[in-house]
C-alpha cells in the first residue's frame, strides 16, 4: 500500500497536483496501474477490430448474413434466435459477478471464499470457451463459413467473425489460466504471507475487461 499524505486534493486541482509533482502519479498499487494501462491498449486493439468490421460491413455490396438466424438454436422443436449467444452472455456476466465478489472477499482476507469464487469464475470462463468452440464448429463444419467466404452472404462476415470472437476467446482462455494460477496462490496462502490481496483485484480488472469487451461485441456483431 502506498503511503499518501492525508491532504490529497480532490477534483481537477487534485489532477494537477498528482500529475505535476515529482512523485508517484497514481496512488494505487503499481500492478493495478499497469493493468489499467494494459487494458487501455487492449481497448485500442479491440476498437480497431470492431472498426474494421464496421468498415467492411458498410462497404460490402453483398447482403450481410442475418446473425439472429446464424446463431439460432433449436431446443425441443422450438427455433430460438440468438439463443447460444444469449446463454454465453449470461455465463460471462455471472463470471464477472463471482469475480467481483472474489475481490471483495480477498480484501477481507477470506482465503477460502476468495479461492472458491475465483475457481468458479475460471470454470464459467471455461464454459464460455467451450460454447464458443461449439459455435465455431457449427459455423465451420455445418454452415461452411470460412475467413474468405461463406454461403450465407458477404465474404467479410467470416473474417470479421473469426478475428473478433477469436481474439476475445483468446483473452478468455488466457484469463482462465491467469485466474487459476492466482486462485491456487490464494488457496496456498501466498497472499497472506505477502501481506496483500491486491493481485486478486488486478486479475479481477482483467476479467471484467473481458466481460466489457463482450458487451460491445454482443451489441455490434450479434445484435446490429
Amino acid at each position: 500500500m502506498s503511503h499518501e499524505p492525508a491532504t490529497l486534493e480532490p477534483g481537477f486541482r487534485g489532477v494537477t497536483a498528482d500529475w505535476s509533482a515529482d512523485k508517484q502519479a497514481f496512488p494505487v498499487p503499481w500492478g493495478k496501474a499497469m493493468m489499467w494501462i494494459f487494458l487501455l491498449s487492449d481497448t485500442f486493439i479491440f476498437t480497431c477490430f470492431l472498426t474494421s468490421y464496421m468498415n467492411v460491413r458498410m462497404s460490402t455490396t453483398e447482403p450481410w448474413p442475418n446473425t439472429a438466424e446464424v446463431f439460432a438454436l433449436t431446443v425441443g422443436g422450438h427455433h430460438i434466435p440468438l439463443l447460444l449467444i444469449a446463454i454465453m452472455t449470461m455465463v460471462l456476466i455471472t463470471s464477472s459477478g463471482t469475480m467481483a465478489m472474489a475481490v471483495n472477499f480477498g480484501y477481507r482476507r477470506d482465503r477460502k471464499r476468495t479461492a472458491a469464487l475465483m475457481f468458479a469464475t475460471a470454470a464459467l470462463g471455461l464454459c464460455f470457451v467451450g460454447m464458443q468452440a461449439f459455435e465455431w464448429t457449427k459455423l465451420i463444419v455445418d454452415e461452411g463459413v470460412r475467413p474468405w467466404g461463406n454461403p450465407l452472404g458477404a465474404a467479410q462476415f467470416g473474417s470479421s467473425f473469426f478475428m473478433i470472437t477469436g481474439f476475445h476467446g483468446l483473452h478468455v482462455t488466457g484469463g482462465v489460466i491467469y485466474l487459476t494460477v492466482v486462485a491456487a496462490r490464494v488457496l496456498s496462502g501466498f497472499y497472506d504471507r505477502k501481506g496483500t490481496y491486491e493481485t486478486v483485484e488486478v486479475a479481477g480488472l482483467y476479467w471484467h475487461f473481458v466481460d466489457l469487451v463482450w458487451v460491445f461485441i454482443f451489441a455490434f456483431f450479434y445484435l446490429w
Partner: protein, 129 residues
C-alpha cells in the same frame, strides 16, 4: 486512499466485518464494498442483457433498434467499469488517464465510416456495370 476509505464508509454503513474494521486502521487496504452492491449490479447486468436480447427477439428495426442496442450497451459497460472495476472510487487523475484516451477512437470510427461509405459507392459504380 484515506479519502477513498471515508467515501466507502459513508456508502456502506451496514458493513461491520472485522477485516473491514481493520481496513480503517493505520494501514487501510484496498476496495471494501458491501456484497449487496455487487449482487445488485449483477442483477442489473442480467436485466439489461435480457433487454438487449429482447430487441432482437421482437425484431425491432430501424432507428429504435440502433438506439436501444446502444443505450443498453452503454449502461452495461458503465456498470462494469464503474462498480466491478472500481473506477467510481478511483482518483480523478486515474479516471482521466484511462477513460479519456479512448475518445480519440471516435475519430478513427468517423474516418472509417466515411471511408466505408466511399468504398461502397465506388463498388456500386464500378461493379454494377
Amino acid at each position: 486512499m484515506a479519502v477513498r476509505q471515508h467515501d466507502i464508509q459513508a456508502d456502506a454503513p451496514e458493513n461491520h466485518s472485522p477485516a473491514h474494521a481493520a481496513a480503517h486502521g493505520a494501514h487501510a487496504e484496498g476496495q471494501q464494498h458491501p456484497i449487496k452492491l455487487y449482487l445488485w449490479v449483477w442483477v442489473l447486468l442480467f436485466v439489461f442483457s435480457a433487454f438487449s436480447y429482447m430487441v432482437d427477439y421482437f425484431q425491432l428495426q430501424g432507428a429504435l433498434r440502433w438506439t436501444l442496442i446502444l443505450v443498453f450497451m452503454v449502461i452495461k459497460a458503465s456498470f462494469i467499469v464503474a462498480i466491478f472495476m472500481h473506477m467510481a472510487w478511483e482518483r480523478l487523475a486515474l479516471k482521466l488517464a484511462i477513460l479519456v484516451p479512448p475518445l480519440s477512437l471516435l475519430i478513427l470510427i468517423g474516418l472509417m465510416a466515411i471511408e466505408g461509405d466511399y468504398t461502397f459507392l465506388t463498388r456500386l459504380a464500378w461493379f454494377a456495370k
